[in-house]
């Protein structure tokens, strides 16, 4: 038998699901009752997307309550594939019940519960396992399960402390002490911290073995430091840290912070310190100062910790009013610059100390101004760059006039070109030491654009940054800036090109894809058949599937390897990725592209509805990284990352919820699936509701209008949302009236399923046939159709209003805003299609007596299509104008200051051509797509 089954495994392992299926069928003829073959066949089926057939087979094997290891493993993969984690738990529990002495089964049952985060059950199983198998680690499995249950936000506070007490009792009753390994020790300490059993913690930590664990384990030492602080033992910790700094040459900033906190602890504790307290504090601060000065002298240029600690100490002394030298702050800053100014991080280090009073500010600025620019070596160059960044940070609004900024742009550019000479011999894979000067100039150009709304400054930024990239191919900072600027300029294909060069992959999709996918439906050519952005959405979303598949495995692995410190971290990580805001923003963008590309059918509506409802109650985490963008704008103005947001707005959870509401409402109306039907038809687990349960029904929540959420929308998006709401409010009663009752929908679904798989649908009872073939059409014949009301003005007017906005936006030289309006108009039309799909069938209209309603659709539709055609025509016309020599000349002329500084004219012309080609591509593509859509819907 084994010999016959091996080829099936091999086929499955290599992804040849088809040949696995063939092999299974062949063997099943000989052994029709063999549950392993059936389980493997179910696996091959689920991997071939044949969900319904797999389900039937899987349930058949499950019903036999299998205990065989191979069968269980195969079914485990099937159930995971089907998202039925809860059934997985039941399966292992049943098996474990039959073989309570089977340790492997016990562990699998434990892990199945871990996978669904059912900590209470996990804890009970671990307890049983310890009794039965007498292994210490099962005590710790119980302990961490109790802690994780306690940490669950749904656990009541008194229950939480009860669980921690239980965990404590278990750890202390363990036959071996927790310090046999660092992770058990860590777990023990975290319990003591929570229960504030500080004496016990100190006894452990001050034992020889406790000390030695903390020396070797950063994680344990972190907890130790925390416990010391919670006890207020700042001085003691400060002394320890001092020893580590002086004797072990430890330069961990945390040690310096401990010394700093010890020096300031007595002052912070008292609200209004009297003179003696002040004197005491001063003396402590003096001591800390002596220590840091000594270390700084010892380390010199090699390490910046002590120098920075001196700055931090002075900052705190000033905060507490015990600084006695008014020059000291700036003196220290000067000293810092002199020692560390040739390191790239100098600016970032000094940033927290740059808010100075007038007198200090003047001294600081005049010091920086007095530095002579030098290009002798890259150290000098870095000094120069740091001085520019530091000066720029402190510029006041008065210093930020057009002419002053223009001068800066020109100075930075000049110095950049001069600085390039230093890196002339570097290999192409290296970064140029002068890069940051180009980036600084790029910041200034963007600010000039903000000040003047004149696009020529963005053209300068493009030309300079593109030039910088030819010198420093790997400068991702330069690329990220260009991506932002190209989107502002309406050149999405260039933005995408740069994005792709960076080879964003894996988890970076979650944190960085916003650079290219934020509001990407604006630039999508899906309606014309070009799925570039839609594909990008799908690729970026892969990471969420990997997370669902892999992260749980490693949580299990952390249990088996007893790395308890990692388990809570992994759970947080999994949750942050699973409920990522970016994930669902991408989902919405992809949906918008999909509707523009595919024919809208009830299948799409049903499937998307279910998916969006899953998303709606998630508590989202924002993992998007915008800190990655270099920002050298002065403190008093917007950051670069804000200045360069497309349409000046970033989509957050408010934006997401608003669009989810729009689409869920539209799909709910268009769909026959109501909650009862969905409950019966849906396979697999329901999503975890991470959002606190809202008492209102979903239907009512969808109607809620939240002004705070709406602030994340552009004015044009807001117009769309208002239109969608009016449309949905208007049509809701008619949809509710015409929708077939659940029984009828279920019967139809069952019929379809049986046709497909040959098996009846489980759990669905088909009502006895009434012999009425028109059951679908005669749902509520006894009820009167709701009276037909007139279409809301907002719906009727929408397309004309938006056309006005579109025409206004057309006057801008960047097509971005015009494309934004056009895409939203197209979207509004598609929502109209979704909302009116049900009433396309003449029989539905007739039976439900909705003729008068449908009459009103026609003029709206006709007008919408006419307006969309006009928009399409304007875009196509524009696309011809975009790629002319005249446009390119405008760009080149705008960049004349750069050309004057010796950036090659032809290079600038090349950049101009690329920009105009990219604009042409997008306006043409969107225009064609719209015209195609108009044709298919007229």
């Amino acid at each position: 038998m084994e010999r016959q089954i091996r080829p099936i495994y091999e086929a499955l392992d290599t992804g040849s699901n088809k040949s696995a299926l063939v092999a299974c069928n062949k063997l099943l003829k000989k052994h029709p009752k063999n549950e392993l073959i059936k389980a493997l066949k179910a696996l091959a089926l689920v991997r071939s997307q044949k969900v319904e057939e797999s389900l039937v087979l899987c349930d058949e094997v499950l019903a036999g309550k299998p205990t065989n290891d191979a069968v269980l493993t195969a079914l485990m993969h099937v159930l995971r594939g089907l998202g039925r984690h809860k059934d997985l738990v039941t399966m292992f529990e049943e098996a474990y019940k039959q073989q309570p002495a089977n340790e492997e089964l016990a562990a699998q049952t434990f892990f199945a519960n871990v996978r669904v985060l059912n900590w209470k059950a996990a804890q009970q199983i671990a307890t049983r396992m310890h009794k039965q198998f007498q292994e210490d680690r099962y005590i710790y499995w119980t302990v961490i399960s109790a802690i994780l249950q306690a940490n669950d936000p749904m656990t009541a506070p008194d229950m939480r402390s009860l669980l921690y007490k239980l965990a404590h009792r278990l750890v202390t009753s363990s036959p071996t002490p927790s310090y046999v390994n660092a992770d058990r020790f860590h777990l023990h300490l975290s319990i003591l911290r929570e229960l504030e059993l500080f004496d016990e913690a100190r006894t452990l930590l001050e034992s020889d073995i406790g000390k030695s664990i903390c020396t070797a384990s950063l994680a344990c030492n972190e907890l130790r430091r925390d416990i010391w602080r919670l006890q207020g033992l700042f001085e003691d910790e400060g002394k320890k840290a001092e020893l580590r700094i002086t004797e072990q040459n430890d330069r961990n900033w945390l040690e310096f912070l401990s010394v700093l906190d010890a020096a300031c602890s007595s002052t912070s504790a008292v609200q209004d310190p009297d003179e003696s307290t002040k004197a005491e504090s001063s003396s402590r601060m003096r001591k800390a100062q002596e220590l840091f000065t000594m270390v700084a002298a010892h380390d010199g240029h090699k390490d910046r910790s002590a120098l920075l600690a001196l700055l931090e100490l002075e900052k705190r002394a000033r905060l507490h009013g015990i600084s006695n030298d008014k020059n000291r702050m700036v003196d220290l800053m000067k000293q810092y610059f002199e020692e560390i100014g040739d390191k790239a991080c100098c600016f970032e280090d000094l940033k927290p100390y740059l808010t100075l009073d007038v007198e200090d500010g003047e001294r600081w600025v005049s010091f920086l101004r007095s530095l002579m620019p030098s290009f002798a070596d890259s150290n000098d160059l870095r000094r120069l760059i740091n001085s520019h960044k530091l000066l720029r940070q402190n510029l006041a609004l008065d210093d930020l006039t057009m002419s002053a900024e223009s001068e800066r742009a020109s100075l930075y550019t000049k110095q950049y070109l001069e600085g390039l000479k230093l890196g002339a011999s570097l290999p192409m894979t290296e970064l140029q030491p002068a890069d940051d000067l180009a980036i600084l100039a790029g910041n200034v150009f963007v600010h000039l654009w903000k000040l003047s709304s004149d696009e020529k400054y963005l053209c300068n930024a493009v030309a300079l940054l593109e030039f910088a990239l030819t010198k420093s191919k790997q400068s991702f900072q330069t690329r990220l800036m260009l991506i932002r600027i190209y989107r502002l300029l309406g050149a999405p294909s260039l933005a995408l090109e740069h994005y792709r060069v960076m080879q964003i992959k894996q988890v970076q999709h979650d944190t960085l894809s916003h650079f290219i996918l934020s509001r990407s439906s604006t630039f999508s050519l899906a309606a014309s058949g070009d799925l570039t952005f839609a594909t990008e959405c799908l690729e970026a979303s892969q990471i969420y599937l990997s997370n669902a598949q892999d992260t749980g495995e490693y949580i299990v692995r952390a249990f088996t390897g007893e790395k308890y410190s990692q388990i809570p971290e992994f759970i947080i990580f999994e949750d942050r990725l699973d409920n990522s805001l970016q994930r669902d923003i991408i989902k919405i963008e992809h949906l918008r592209m999909r509707l523009a590309h595919e024919a809208i059918t009830s299948d799409i509506i049903d499937m998307e509805l279910i998916e969006l409802k899953f998303i709606y109650d998630r508590l989202h985490h924002d993992n998007r990284d915008s800190e990655i963008l270099a920002d050298y704008q002065p403190r008093v103005i917007q950051k670069f990352s804000e200045q360069t947001l497309l349409f000046g707005k970033s989509e957050g959870s408010g934006w997401l919820r608003t669009f989810l509401k729009v689409y869920i409402r539209a799909f709910q109306q268009g769909s026959d699936l109501d909650d009862t039907v969905e409950e019966k038809l849906l396979i697999g687990d329901r999503p975890k509701q991470t959002s606190p349960q809202n008492k209102l029904a979903l239907k009512d929540r969808l109607r809620q209008r939240n002004d705070e959420e709406l602030t994340e929308l552009t004015p044009e998006e807001l117009a769309l949302v208002d239109y969608a709401r009016a449309l949905a409010d208007w049509l809701e009663p008619y949809h509710d009236h015409a929708r077939p009752p659940p029984g009828v929908v279920l019967a139809e679904a069952a019929k379809q399923a049986e046709l497909k798989t040959g098996h009846p649908l489980k759990g669905v009872e088909i009502p006895p046939k009434s012999g009425n073939a028109n059951a679908l059409l005669f749902p509520k014949k006894d009820e009167e159709a709701p009276p037909v009301t007139e279409a809301p003005a907002i719906v009727i007017q929408f397309f004309d209003d938006m056309k006005t906005r579109f025409d206004d936006a057309q006057s801008a030289s960047s097509p971005s805003l015009a494309l934004h309006v056009a895409a939203l108009m197209q979207e509004a039309f598609l929502l109209f299609v979704v909302e009116t799909l049900r009433f396309k069938a003449p029989s539905v209209v007739k039976v439900n007596k909705l003729g008068a309603l449908v009459q009103q659709f026609k003029p709206i539709r006709v007008n919408a299509l006419a307006v969309l055609r006009e928009v399409s025509f304007s875009l196509l016309k524009r696309s011809e104008q975009d790629a002319t020599a005249e446009q390119r000349k405008k760009f080149v002329d705008a960049c004349s200051p750069l050309i004057a500084l010796n950036i090659d004219h032809d290079f600038v012309l090349g950049a101009a051509k690329k920009l105009s080609d990219s604009r042409k591509k997008v306006t043409e593509g969107v225009g064609k797509g719209m015209s195609r859509m108009c044709t298919s819907y007229s």
Partner: protein, 178 residues
């Protein structure tokens, strides 16, 4: 001056300034989670006082008998934080942990033969070349230094469990492995 602390799974959301660098590879989730679930004490990060990640090290422990050793799998510092001695500190931490917790005989790491700065740094820290691995790295284009671009040195440093320094040899540069 930086905070030395354990590498946490959530740091994967914050390591872009390090990983967007062309020399640093971004692996799949399983890779990082495997390291954290198996050798969390051989993985750490350096962060700036403001919380920005500056660099990280990921290591493992492997090998049988006297080959039991700590290995530096990934060591990377963001461009703006280079020349601050971060790599040195993180390597020292890994050595300490490999020595005290894992009782390893030595620590080893791979480095591009062309990366003279790094090789010199590791030599300064007590590492020496054990062998040269042919074409270990994929090329990023035509290297200016030919073979050296793609070959790697396997460098080792003996720990306290190897007082006789049996895990290193003087002529490692001549030991070429295909």
């Amino acid at each position: 001056m930086s905070v030395l602390r354990p590498f946490r799974a959530a740091d994967l959301f914050k390591f872009n300034n390090i990983n967007l660098d062309v020399w640093t590879e971004t692996y799949d989730l399983a890779f990082y989670l495997n390291y954290l679930a198996t050798w969390p004490d051989l993985c750490c990060v350096q962060a700036s006082p403001g919380g920005r990640l500056m660099g990280y090290i990921l290591g493992n422990a492997e090998g049988a008998n006297t080959e039991w050793h700590g290995h530096v799998t990934a060591l990377s510092v963001a461009p703006e934080y280079r020349r601050l001695g971060l790599a040195r500190r993180m390597t020292a931490l890994l050595e300490r942990s490999a020595d005290a917790t894992y009782r390893a005989f030595f620590v080893d790491l791979f480095v591009r033969c062309s990366n003279g700065v790094a090789v010199a740094m590791y030599e300064g820290m007590g590492y020496s070349v054990w062998r040269r691995l042919r074409e270990y790295y994929g090329s990023l284009g035509v290297g200016s230094r030919g073979r050296d671009e793609e070959d790697a040195f396997d460098m080792r440093k003996p720990l306290s469990k190897d007082p006789g320094r049996r895990s290193v040899r003087a002529n490692g540069r001549d030991m070429i492995v295909q």
